[in-house]
């Protein structure tokens, strides 16, 4: 938060004593309240951003990206610049920029040496400044913050060393003593103890990541402490997304319209749709790393709608998109080149075949299987899972739009600009081969033609390549799913119109561009695109209850794996969502419901089906008893 001058004028910062004590209670209270209100940054299922030192953030992100194929060098070089800049700012002097270096191993080696040197610099400062405890504390805090660049890698590969060093950091904090409050409670500093604790960290850093550090010749690029006597070379560590990622869902949630709900259908009569809804929210239909990260279809297609915030450094070019044929999520299906795509809106998807941005899948079922198996490394899905996903996605309706007639023409009450835009939309242009916008985006056919066209928005593999054709996307609801084009390269509908005007030399006048934009905004609009509340836990709990409504159907068919997935998904979802409770006194209820699902899963795996039935009944009873307070 940047303070305005007006605001600054009203404040004076007092630090008569400048103690380093950071009380947390109020911070906790703020977090707590944010959890309640649902609109703040600290929502629980909404993962808060890690507060990392810029060097640590840059290093961790670089390590992630340097292990990708292909490497997003722009990300690495930007982070290398951050680290080099910090290094210079603390007096190391200028260093040759890594901006032209495309040798991953060499770049990783330099970054690791630099980060280690920065941490050592702050630690040495802390030792030297011991007589000035406030400055020494600041240096320790900086050193520890930079140390975090390495620590997540050490936790698994050298747990003993990680433990020793953890105690060293605590030892340093301890040895700095306290100045007390108003002169009371002061504790004398312990120089010897401080130096001893600091030495433990300094020695470790110098021996493992010192100025002569060389990364192992083979394998992943990561700061493994190979010179530590307690290093475990065969250890594995969990895959994590890099700093700067955002897989959080939107709040308020997009409004999802299920056709069955609009028709007043009793949900308990639609078990296959319930299976699909569950699978859509499940990390367990996928393989690693999706399961560890906890991502599902819903992460990108939040409530079936484009998640405009979705971003993973190195895999996304811009928010709301990702390269889905990458080496991180499914190395076996990596296509070896960076081709991020904009996440499509799934509203009305049953009307918009074929599927995939390039329309390579004729059916939704083929498309869904490919996402599970080849984009996100899942096992071959059971037929019931695919059937369920298709049944569920077939329920996604477009937003209602009172400005559109059923045949796609504008209704009478639309603006004059939009009506002029409609005429332009239907006008053939010789520059477009005599076609109009409406030739492909057929108003009476939900603004699609079910065909693929190369409009020149994609760079093909060669000058005569035929791989630039893309599926015609619907225009319904697009106002709510920027950016546009297959790669999200057009930020607004107006920029889309401008692109066509310039690419096809349409020579549109400014007013015509505005009219056409107004038309697209009208067609792409719709009523109430978002839910009118930031609180949605009760809706989620109701949805989990819907998931389990499929139990009898699955049990009757003896579909044990799908039952397992259902229980695991509900348990994980409840644990993810429980921090959204407005009243945390009901946490034990949600924990109990998750535990019951774990027990049902265990019973199902051991073949104790009577117990499974009991646990399902127990879950339903818990929900019925508490649904009014689980919100």
């Amino acid at each position: 938060m940047i303070l305005s001058l007006k605001t600054l004028r009203k404040y004076e910062i007092h630090s008569f004593r400048g103690r380093w004590l950071i009380q947390f209670f109020r911070v906790s209270a703020v977090l707590l309240i944010y959890s309640f209100q649902g609109g703040g940054p600290a929502l629980a299922h909404i993962i808060p951003k890690e507060n990392l030192h810029p060097v640590t953030e840059a290093y961790r992100r670089s390590v992630f990206v340097l292990n990708l194929n292909p490497i997003a060098w722009d990300v690495v070089h930007r982070d290398a610049k951050t680290i080099a800049g910090y290094r210079s700012s603390i007096g190391f002097g200028e260093k040759k920029a890594l901006g032209e270096n495309y040798d991953a191993r060499a770049v990783f080696r330099e970054l690791t040496r630099d980060v280690s040197a920065i941490c050592l610099h702050h630690l040495s400062n802390a030792v030297a400044l011991f007589e000035e405890p406030e400055q020494a504390i600041e240096e320790v805090k900086k050193a520890q913050a930079v140390w975090m660049a390495f620590s997540e890698f050490l936790q698994k590969t050298d747990p003993d060393g990680y433990f020793r060093l953890g105690q060293s950091w605590l030892g340093m904090a301890n040895a700095l003593g306290s100045r007390g409050l108003l002169g009371i409670g002061a504790v004398e500093a312990d120089r010897e103890g401080f130096n001893r604790a600091a030495k433990g960290v300094i020695d470790y850093l110098e021996s493992n990541f010192g100025k002569n550090y060389e990364p192992p010749k083979n394998g992943k690029l990561a700061p493994f402490p190979v010179n530590s006597p307690t290093y475990k070379p065969k250890a594995r560590f969990a895959l994590r997304l890099p700093p700067g990622n955002n897989i959080n869902k939107q709040i308020p949630r997009p409004r999802q319209i299920l056709n069955m709900a609009s028709r007043g259908v009793d949900e308990s009569d639609t078990p296959l749709i319930a299976v699909g809804d569950m699978a859509f929210d499940s990390a367990f239909i996928y393989g690693e790393p999706m399961r560890s990260i906890g991502m599902s279809c819903n992460s990108c297609h939040n409530k079936s709608i484009t998640n405009p915030n979705f971003f993973i450094p190195g895999l996304s070019q811009r928010e709301g998109g990702m390269d889905v044929s990458n080496s991180f999520f499914a190395p076996h299906a990596n296509n070896g080149h960076f081709d991020p795509i904009d996440i499509p809106d799934l509203r009305g998807i049953r009307f918009t075949a074929p599927y995939g941005r390039n329309g390579r899948f004729a059916s939704l079922r083929e498309f869904a299987r490919n996402v599970i198996v080849n984009e996100f490394n899942g096992p071959e899905p059971e037929p019931v899972i695919l059937d369920g996903l298709v049944a569920y996605m077939n329920e996604f309706d477009f937003l209602p739009n009172r400005y559109l007639e059923k045949d796609g023409r504008l209704a009478n009450e639309t603006t004059p600009e939009a009506r002029l835009g409609e005429k332009l939309f239907n006008k053939p242009f010789s520059q477009m081969g005599g076609m109009s916008c409406a030739s492909c985006h057929i108003p009476s056919a939900n603004f699609v033609d079910h065909k693929r066209h190369d409009i020149g928005s994609i760079e093909g593999a060669g000058s005569t390549g035929k791989d630039g054709a893309l599926d015609t996307p619907t225009l319904l609801g697009i106002l709510w799913s920027p950016p546009y084009f297959h790669d999200g390269s057009q930020p607004t509908l107006r920029s889309v119109v401008n692109w066509f005007d310039q690419t096809y030399r349409l020579n549109l006048k400014t007013g015509e561009i505005e009219n056409l934009t107004a038309y697209l905004e009208t067609v792409g609009g719709g009523t109430d695109p978002y839910e009118d509340t930031p609180y949605y836990l009760d809706a989620e709990m109701e949805e989990f209850y819907f998931f389990i409504s499929a139990y009898e159907f699955l049990a009757e068919k003896n579909l044990l794996n799908a039952i397992d997935i259902t229980f695991q998904t509900i348990a994980l979802e409840i644990r993810n969502h429980k921090w959204e409770l407005q009243d945390l006194q009901y946490l034990p209820v949600m924990e109990k419901m998750a535990d019951v699902m774990d027990e049902a899963h265990a019973a199902n795996q051991s073949g104790n089906f009577e117990q499974v039935r009991e646990k399902v009944a127990e879950y339903r009873a818990l929900y019925a008893e508490n649904k009014e307070v689980l919100k």
Partner: protein, 301 residues
């Protein structure tokens, strides 16, 4: 780290643009109500957020209301001692010391989810070996800071009350090693990462962890309830102003959207509750045991 740099930058800017302490003090004496807001991590944010309560109070009190930021309780108390602050947001320990030393008056307790109180807990790893206090004998524990009610004195008292800890040394004859980690987040993370077996810190410390980490720790014992953080008033603040303040702040209703905006920005509290000296009678005894309060009878019923 960046926070500290920011604070320094702001200090420099503010030093340049403010008219100086003398003018500030005179304004206080004359007609302006000056409030010391404590910042634990981000003074810019606190400064920005506190605008809401200043705007709320000014018309209700009928006098100018201004705020300033302190980075520690000692600064708040010193500001009040020199009449530069009429009100200050403090924790119970700082208040008791301020009351004893400069006669500060308890005005309103902050209300959290469970009311105007909170407690400390002894946290362990859920998959660790300790399930009760006795299991921690010969083990390590981290507190937040030596001078911290919920991050040291209250949890230490848990062991005193259980008869496990005696004497003046933090380790007593019970712990192998006691660390003062530098804050609640550092202490709870020390438990999470297995650097220590336990942490004695606030009941809300787990909220400083990432959501997926929170279930990995659990409390095995709680301290007595302490009055929550509070607003204290300068001894000489006119009764009329105090009463108007109380009325205005007690009227804030968390359930009203317009009030909730103000409260969310005011450390995220749910409201306020009237405070009295006797609220502090039990915690004063604990503070006295460690020398922070000389006369706990000041807070007796």
């Amino acid at each position: 780290m960046s926070m500290s740099i920011n604070m320094k930058i702001i200090s420099v800017i503010l030093a340049a643009i403010l008219t100086g302490a003398a003018a500030f003090g005179e304004e206080t004496k004359d007609q302006t109500l000056n409030i010391a807001f404590i910042s634990y991590a981000n003074p810019q944010q606190v400064a920005y957020d506190s605008e809401a309560i200043l705007k709320y109070l000014e018309p209700r009190l009928g006098i100018p209301v201004k705020g300033f930021i302190t980075l520690d309780y000692g600064s708040s108390i010193e500001a009040m001692r020199s009449d530069k602050a009429d009100l200050a947001f403090v924790d119970p320990l700082a208040f008791m010391m301020a009351h004893e030393q400069i006669g500060a008056v308890p005005l309103l307790l902050e209300v959290y989810q469970n009311g105007p109180s909170y407690h400390a807990s002894v946290w362990v790893r859920r998959d660790g070996s300790a399930a009760k206090l006795e299991d921690l004998k010969g083990k390590t524990i981290a507190y937040a800071d030596q001078v911290d009610m919920s991050g040291h004195l209250l949890p230490r008292n848990v062991f005193n009350r259980a008869g496990l800890l005696r004497g003046n040394r933090p380790e007593g004859n019970f712990f192998k090693q006691v660390y003062f980690a530098g804050g609640d987040e550092q202490a709870i993370r020390a438990v999470l990462n297995g650097f220590v077996e336990a942490a004695g810190i606030s009941q809300y410390a787990y909220l400083l962890l990432r959501p997926e980490e929170r279930d990995l720790v659990m409390p095995i014992a709680n301290s007595i309830e302490s009055p929550s953080h509070l607003i204290m008033a300068r001894k000489g603040l006119p009764e009329e102003v105090r009463e108007k303040l109380k009325d205005a702040l007690l009227a804030l209703d968390w359930k009203k959207p317009e009030d909730k905006v103000i409260l969310d920005k005011l450390y995220g509290v749910r409201g306020f509750s009237a405070a009295s000296l006797s609220d502090f009678s039990e915690v004063a005894k604990i503070a006295a045991r460690h020398g922070f309060v000389k006369n706990p009878d000041l807070f007796s019923e």
